[in-house]
Point group: C2
Chain length 413, copies 2
């Protein structure tokens, strides 16, 4: 059995530790190993102690995430040393590194931070390149126990270099398996489920789940078989069939994001982009610029929140604002063409709508959004959407459909 125990702040005040558990579970799944038990013990010492004792009885591989820091409520090392009867010793090499980090920032290490350099005796250290507390690994009877920081970024940075090479996962793999992850945009979950089911049905030992988020649905298909070769063949066959079935609704695989796919397509087609946002308020620019190297194709963005900004920066005519309103197909088209013109880019994307919760009318309700894409040598058209949800969700959905509009344009070139 494989088990994750998350230690951390009270669940009520923050839940970052669970993101850590998700990272470990996903990494293990990619190596063909499923997690059997996941427990969040917060910072309650008795609960951690009880869970650890139970885990040692039933599981061969135990991850303890979080609680390695210098705070009073960082209880992992204390409880591990109590349950396992191991001493805590100060590791001077680790201590020096922590001191160095503080010095680099021109600060003196507070005394309390020393606690991070306390290490259980007889353990192997796992170096942490991005954080202060290293992880560690030790054997307890038949079981392997691995303690890692709770932060997902730190876990990822430790995993490949330090954790994976030390794990012997062969005995833990139940059956050869692999996970196919496909990402779709613009198709309702219920329709998608029928489509995926119709393709997956014919494959014996295959299960799938759909994870919707905004206008996006991730399809996770777990493929099992007798051998790794069989799994690989099944996976390829399924991917081929699903690509045919889903067509342009499919935008990527694995951990790709829509903004990464859009970025790659812009680079591939040597196109540049400028964006004019009203209701999305900067979210599209923010997502585009989350991608490394986006300065190669993203030229500028205009968040034209006021009518004045739409008119003076994007050359939207006062007549359109007066007669059609700032939330209209005409305004979206003028904004897209305007931002493309002033930026001299290949493409201009624009959004205008009502993100709410106030500002809606019977004719123009909250959730109404117009999105337009201007491109060389074709008439600019606008699409109209009605999004449900709260303000943030409407912004998210509109940003998603805006990015998807660019993707569809570039893949149909």
């Amino acid at each position: 059995m494989v088990e994750i125990i998350s230690v951390g702040q009270d669940l009520a005040s923050g839940q970052t530790q669970n993101l850590g558990a998700a990272v470990v579970a996903r990494e293990l799944l990619q190596a063909g190993v499923e997690v059997d038990y996941t427990t969040f013990v917060g910072n309650r010492e008795d609960y951690l102690e009880e869970t650890l004792r139970q885990a040692l009885l039933r599981s061969g591989l135990i991850f303890v995430l979080g609680g390695l820091g210098s705070h009073r409520y960082d209880i992992t090392k204390k409880i591990l040393s109590r349950v396992l009867n191991k001493r805590l010793v100060l590791d001077y090499k680790v201590l020096d590194k922590i001191k160095e980090r503080f010095e680099k920032r021109g600060e003196v290490m507070p005394r309390a931070e020393e606690k991070q350099a306390l290490i259980l005796s007889e353990t192997e250290l796992l170096e942490n390149p991005v954080g202060m507390s290293p992880g560690f690994l030790f054997h307890q009877g038949e079981a392997v126990v691995i303690a890692l920081p709770g932060d997902p970024v730190e876990i990822k940075s430790i995993w490949t270099q330090e954790v994976l090479p030390r794990l012997d996962l062969q005995g833990l793999k139940k059956v050869p398996s692999d996970t196919l992850i496909l990402k779709t945009c613009g198709l309702a979950e219920s329709i998608l489920e029928e489509w995926v089911r119709s393709v997956v049905r014919s494959q014996g030992n295959t299960t799938f789940s759909l994870i919707p988020y905004g206008e996006e649905v991730e399809i996770a298909i777990e493929v099992k078989g007798e051998s790794l070769e069989e799994v690989e063949a099944l996976r390829r066959d399924l991917e081929y069939k699903l690509r045919r079935k889903l067509g342009s609704y499919l935008y990527g695989t694995g951990e790709q994001t829509l903004e990464e796919v859009v970025g790659s397509l812009l680079v591939l087609n040597r196109k540049t982009l400028a964006v004019a946002e009203s209701c999305t308020g900067g979210l599209i620019c923010h997502r585009l610029t989350n991608v490394e190297g986006s300065s190669r194709y993203f030229e500028r963005g205009i968040i034209s929140y006021s009518n004045e900004a739409k008119m003076s920066l994007l050359d939207v005519s006062p007549e359109i604002i007066r007669e059609k309103g700032p939330v209209s197909a005409e305004a979206a088209i003028a904004m897209a063409e305007g931002v493309r013109w002033i930026s001299q880019t290949s493409l201009g994307l624009a959004t205008t709508g009502i993100a709410g919760p106030s500002g809606g009318t019977p004719e123009k309700p909250v959730g109404l959004v117009y999105i337009a894409l201007a491109a060389e040598g074709r008439e600019t058209k606008s699409e109209r959407f009605y999004f449900s949800g709260d303000r943030n969700f409407i912004k998210l959905r509109a940003s998603q459909m805006g990015l998807d509009m660019i993707r569809r344009h570039l893949t149909s070139l």
Copy 2:
């Protein structure tokens, strides 16, 4: 004892259910009740069954979150009916509502959705105003079991109207307690810890935790006492002392965000704002426009990613770009003054820096960010920061310090 069991997608493919658990834990804490056990069972039927049986033996109040939907892996109702020996019956009222929702969107309800209207016999329904699946509550021996959807937004919408009035929490409150939440910006966690400890130390039964996120640290202090009056007095006293100690590092309380505080200050002082972003790429505008009613003070944003955009839109002189570079104090100041000038707003904020991971040099490393705020009748100054972390984290930290600069300016007026 109080217990939360989260059902849902595999932890590896998505962890939204845990956000739901955080909402329930926080709501209970506000009512003075602590959660004793938190388990995430994924969609494994045997694990849910085992955990439920254990919970019924030890806990008086059990929440089961998620797994109420129509998918094959939505297992909550099935396992509840098995463990408790209750039948599942189709509730036609619920079914009609689901059908209605589909009709509103011009779709026909897929047959599979019927499953959402299956309800355990002898339970009380908890109406869900924003989602399809209602929650439900029932008594099992001494215990109260409450099943809710896993989505945090749905839980919040059900909680006050439907859940809270049905709970008798008196017997579950251990001691009278209250939680004081203070939000700070700009102060290192280790220094903050010493400060808070020096204030809290003198109070007997008080514990605190710090939750850092980017440049922000949330202080959660749990105050306990003999009576609610005593708790209230202690809480007020602590808040007074901490406000004095933390000074302008403290920006808000409870669930307030920095962008909300900045928005309120702008409204209060009748100021308007325009933003020019380079390295933050739209994140500051996105955060500002996440706040309802932000169109009252947020006039426009310019995401001037290219040098051309900095020069043509913001009037940054070619000499500054050539001699000082686009990442320089001079450029930040020119951008802030430029965006304020073209927008005719009270304030102009600008960021320019190197978000990485590439593009750094020995003189201008990744993480170097200049932020400037232009305001009427005073010289514009620029602040220099060195942020650590990956691209997204550098963007987050820079956006935080930019917003905080506006807050500090407005509170010192």
